[in-house]
Amino acid sequence: MTRAFLLAMGVLLPASVLAVLVALAFGSVTIPTADLLAVFNGEASRLHSTLVLELRLPRALAAFAAGGLLGIAGALMQVLLRNPLADPYVLGLSGGASVGALLAMLAGLSMFSVSMAAFFGALLSTVIVFGLAHGTGSWTPTRLLLTGVVVAAGWGAMISFILAVSPTAELPGMLYWLMGDVSHARNPYPAWGVLVLVVLLALPLGRTLNVLARGPMQAAALGVAVRPVEWSIYIAAALITATAVTQVGAVGFVGLIVPHMLRLVFGNDQRVILPASALAGGILLTLADTLARTIIAPEQLPVGVITAMLGVPVFLFLLYRSR
């Protein structure tokens, strides 16, 4: 255990708990502190315990899990592609997921089917990008990145098409989904399962990823089986992102800025960055969703608006401060 790891966990673990508590404490209905404490003693009124335990808690947990998944997927993608601009959506994942979700909404399916359609849309996009980038055999990060960007543009065109032909009544729901919205997340536990699993698997892989980040030649020279490792990262990142997307829709920026911010603070050691990205992503999305619920209550904002508005200035500031 390095000092950076202990430092990161020492700061981020309490901060995570705090973020979830903040999400439970604030909402459009003001609950006095004494009544909040009563909720956990089981002595609160039915209204207060419903608000906190049935509305706020699942939503806060869903936001945290999805943020964590996006954070860790971003960190993995940046190592895999050795490109600082890579994010979980760079391979057209969010586009594929969005097209799946919008088509399901257009067909009038239930929210569960919309989530499933998003999941399979994301995986379909992964397969397309992977297949095309692989092409006749040469497989480089640049090629993968380019293919992803172009496929994403294609999905973008399909999204515009679907929006243009959809009935007016469906549009608000669709736009909220595209901007990222936690309000329809209901069962956060599968996402939590994936998150815990991924963090546990990523911890022992940290050293390998560190070597890989230096370049495939050096990694191969140091005895890393480059190709299988790259494939596993790729598939893992795709599954992680698809899971996150089913919870909260296409939330932007979390996967891009969280790993970068952490690198600027803790240095580029994947053994620290991967778990830290999970926690910091979770914190960011939980707090952003709390703002989205309260800022103009009783009106509700999509959480993606907040992540972008918070994330961009913080990221630019950190980048400006670093050399």
Partner: protein
């Protein structure tokens, strides 16, 4: 006060109690527009409305004083402005709804988010889903909501008055010489309605025919060329506010259009025509007047 008078008073009081108490506790059962049977143990006392037109209907059936929450833009009747808000109709603030502890939520299927309606049901709140289509549906919504609130007397009368008014307009105008109407919902994008839409029924009542009635989509997005080719005799603009939008006059650019040549560019406030409330009878009456005006402007009249 003699004993006899006192006894009569007591008897009346007891009689009132006997009548009133079972009436209060009487469960009410109603089927909503999703064919779901809704049963309330007693008539609704705390209602939350999830759309502006629902707020209007609740007032129209005499249950406005039971409304404890409503969505943004619930602006009619004016008293509705004072009802606590629970967010916009496309995204309801569930916390606010729960805080109001309603015993009935009236939702709008094509406006509210299905998952939020589902959520409210799971939290044990009775939800009535409303989706009126035709004039008949507006009246039957009124009757059912009145039944849930226990204001049948006012509600049934209001629904009947609404239907009677429509029927009177139909008797007067429906058989007159057809007028070809283009109803413009919006300019950017250019949108109209097909014959499934409530506004198309108003056009039909007034003896008009909707030039794009045959299209598949309820609210089709149109190409300007198609409108020019259809050459309607009347163009009626809707829009958002209470004032005529500029784009109604903008049709004057196309001088060859019959509607432009005869100056048949009309505007009817969308609050009277686009909301599924009894006020649509007023909008229909205005529509009939405008179409009649167009008939009088025909050459040779």
């Amino acid at each position: 006060m003699t004993f006899k008078v006192f006894r009569r008073h007591m008897a009346l009081l007891v009689a009132t109690f006997l009548c009133a108490t079972p009436a209060l506790a009487e469960p009410v059962t109603v089927t909503d527009d999703e064919d779901r049977e809704l049963r309330l143990e007693q008539t609704a006392q705390r209602i939350v409305s999830l759309a502006p037109h629902i707020t209007e209907v609740v007032f129209a059936v005499g249950a406005g004083d039971r409304l404890v929450g409503a969505t943004q833009y619930s602006d009619y009747p004016p008293e509705a402005e004072d009802i606590p808000r629970v967010g916009g109709y496309s995204r309801i603030d569930l916390e606010r709804v729960l805080e109001l502890e309603p015993d009935l939520v009236i939702a709008w299927r094509s406006g509210n988010s299905g998952s939020q309606i589902e959520r409210l049901r799971d939290l044990g709140i009775p939800v009535y889903v409303s989706e009126p289509r035709r004039f008949e549906g507006v009246a039957s919504s009124m009757r059912r909501i009145a039944h849930l609130a226990g204001t049948e007397a006012t509600g049934d009368a209001a629904a009947q008055a609404f239907l009677d008014r429509i029927e009177a307009l139909r008797n007067e105008y429906a058989q007159r010489d057809p007028v070809r109407v283009f109803y413009q919902v919006w300019e950017q994008p250019l949108m109209t309605i097909n014959d499934q839409h409530l506004i198309a029924e108003a056009i039909e009542v007034c003896g008009g025919s909707n030039v794009f009635g045959h299209l598949d989509r309820l609210v089709p997005r149109m190409d300007r060329e198609a409108v020019i080719e259809a050459d309607p005799e009347v163009i009626i603009g809707g829009g958002m506010g209470e004032d005529r939008p500029d784009w109604v006059r903008a049709w004057e650019r196309w001088e060859d259009l019959t509607a432009v040549q005869r100056d048949n560019l009309f505007f009817i406030a969308p609050s009277l025509l686009q909301r599924h409330t009894p006020r649509i009878a007023e909008g229909t009456a205005l529509m009939c007047e405008e179409l009649e005006r167009a008939r009088l402007r025909r050459p040779g009249q």
